[in-house]
Symmetry: C2
Subunit: 129 residues, 2 copies
Amino acid sequence: MIVAAIDRRERLEKIVTFAAEEAKMRGVKLHIIHSMHGGSRTSREEVEQAEDMLGEAERLAEKIGAEVETHLLMRGNDPAKDILLFCDEVKAELLVIGVRKRSPAGKLLFGSTAQQVILEAEIPVVCIK
Amino acid sequence: MIVAAIDRRERLEKIVTFAAEEAKMRGVKLHIIHSMHGGSRTSREEVEQAEDMLGEAERLAEKIGAEVETHLLMRGNDPAKDILLFCDEVKAELLVIGVRKRSPAGKLLFGSTAQQVILEAEIPVVCIK
């Protein structure tokens, strides 16, 4: 299993393309996930946007020829915990994430979710910009 | 081309195994590199240890069935710059590095070379613990 975690549209295509090609090459299934808090901290509009994003990711992965499933995680966890738990649950062999964001001043920063996931994951983590 | 950067023996096997399998699967060459400063800041003993390490890495990659070349970089650069320049030079499509080190107190830390490489590389970077 390969897990790809997508956060926003900006990097979706690069993350999904890499993960889908890798899944196809290895002959394993690709799980595409997006983590939200859920409950009162997540609006209906945010959920609809996330579902659209996952739908777009699914179509792209299918076009590449990967076997794919998408999952909108709303378990009250922070994203790093959601991603790490999900990888354990499906016994993932590889995790693909987006890294690098810009500060309001334009400086390149390392996202804290990405840092935590890279440090704590038991499997190789592919970082996509 | 796939580039694998090795720093010390501890993670060598995991880094080289992942990179060699990936190179074999993609039908591309694997370059294994180790960066040292060189000149008066690098002793003959350190160079010999690095050559031994690269030799070990080469034998492992060949055993897995990858086409492999090793390179001891001594260009006076810091490791992050060496790794990024080398990836450009060979037009690498994927970079494999080790991350995570422990502080003297045992706390998990993100190495600064790894952080810089992940943020600045133009290609996907695979992080191995």
